[in-house]
């Protein structure tokens, strides 16, 4: 497990067609936000255009002619294998530690992550850092109203980036913000114009737009439940109780869960847990904090999903924890 820190950090950049993913990434490469990243670009069109925009990457690979979450999945896995392979072979050459994956506008980030997590090789070499989803301020509202895919993308996001904010009026932007917050309450929203960060208005008083049902799916908005494990101690039993409980939850209610995130203190170190839908990522061991420097966010895990009953969840975790202690 000590090799965890050596894994490639993966940033997934998603968002609907024409949302401004490449424009944003182009500016980040120019501004050197990422340390010499290896960039992968996926395009649905058979001829890639965007890659010519992305000079400045240490390495650039293009997967064109299909979406990576369905028909190009095998090619994606193959490409990632070869990247990991090259990286392991050339250990004496300084290597990039950052992978930025710009997905096509019709890809679902959750599916891509599942494919990576289920691959025994990639699982050991790649660590998801964050999922950034770009939303267009002009068309975003219409997209979340009509496109199930657009909602899927937003729900999977850790960070939502609203682009083209200079082209829309303040009220639309506030409504969009409120709607995004309703769809994914745990994400962080930021605004950017041509890749440069812009301030966001305060949308606490704005009303979200009503979201109609799509494809007969029940589109109940997401809600989040915070679980605090502190009262249960930090020994083996906490981890056993919590991991057994959470694995059973993901097994039985995984389809209603969109995201699980949190840091748990275990005998083996502080573990960062992250899941997208049913798939839990191999936990990352975080460095220990200096003595007395306890983080208040430690041992707090957030579940995000649909139809979560707060009381039942808290009670059930409590019962399982009590049984562990006995």
């Amino acid at each position: 497990m000590s090799s965890e820190e050596n894994r490639l950090r993966l940033t997934i950049l998603g968002g609907f067609l024409g949302a401004g993913k490449s424009t944003w990434l182009r500016h980040q490469l120019f501004a050197e936000t990422y340390d010499q990243p290896h960039v992968i670009v996926n395009e649905v069109a058979p001829h890639a255009v965007d890659d010519t925009l992305l000079a400045g990457a240490r390495c650039l690979d293009v997967l064109a002619g299909g979406c990576v979450c369905c028909d190009q999945k095998e090619q994606m896995i193959e490409l990632l294998h070869s990247i990991c392979n090259d990286r392991s072979r050339m250990q004496d050459v300084p290597q990039t530690r950052q992978l930025v994956f710009e997905m096509s506008g019709v890809a679902d980030p959750g599916q891509v992550l599942t494919a990576i997590q289920n691959d025994p090789i990639l699982n050991r070499h790649i660590l998801l850092e964050e999922i950034i989803v770009v939303v267009d301020a002009l068309h975003g509202l219409e997209q979340v109203r009509t496109e199930p895919l657009s909602r899927c993308q937003i729900e999977a996001a850790d960070q939502i980036l609203i682009t083209k904010t200079d082209c829309c009026d303040a009220q639309t932007l506030e409504t969009l913000l409120a709607t995004l917050k309703q769809l994914n309450p745990a994400s962080e929203c930021r605004a950017s114009v041509f890749g440069v960060e812009e301030p966001l208005p305060d949308a606490s008083s704005a009303q979200p737009v009503p979201l109609p049902d799509l494809d007969g799916q029940t589109e109940e908005p997401l809600s989040s439940v915070s679980l605090n494990l502190d009262e249960s101690g930090t020994d083996v039993n906490t981890w056993v109780g919590f991991s057994v409980w959470l694995s059973a939850m993901l097994h039985t209610h995984g389809n209603h869960m969109v995201r699980v995130k949190g840091v748990v203190r275990t005998p083996g170190g502080r573990l960062l847990l992250q899941s997208v839908r049913k798939v839990m990522q191999a936990p990352e061991i975080l460095p220990d904090l200096p003595l007395g420097g306890e983080r208040s966010s430690d041992n707090t895990v957030v579940l995000i999903g649909r139809g979560l009953n707060h009381e039942r969840i808290h009670n059930s975790l409590h019962h399982v924890m009590t049984k562990t202690a006995n």
Partner: protein
Amino acid sequence: MCSACGFPPAVGHWTDAGGQTPTERLRIRFSRVALLNELLKPLGLGAHDLGVQPGIQISNGMGQTKLCQTLEEAWDQVEILSGTSFDPLNVV
């Protein structure tokens, strides 16, 4: 391939990540089956971990035992062996 259990080598499941030393890992495995036994009792199932051999054994008290590589697989087997699903929200 492990000559004891026949499982091909695999990435550790996330639920196995809590311990660094062999002792810690073993303690986690044993207290995990103890908890599983508590939870599965109402379904008429039992869990067992040999310790020297990877995997969790789930048995139904009628002679059927399944060796599961991970906890995730164990929940699948619980459903198959008991004929019902285990819902953690119903634990009392």
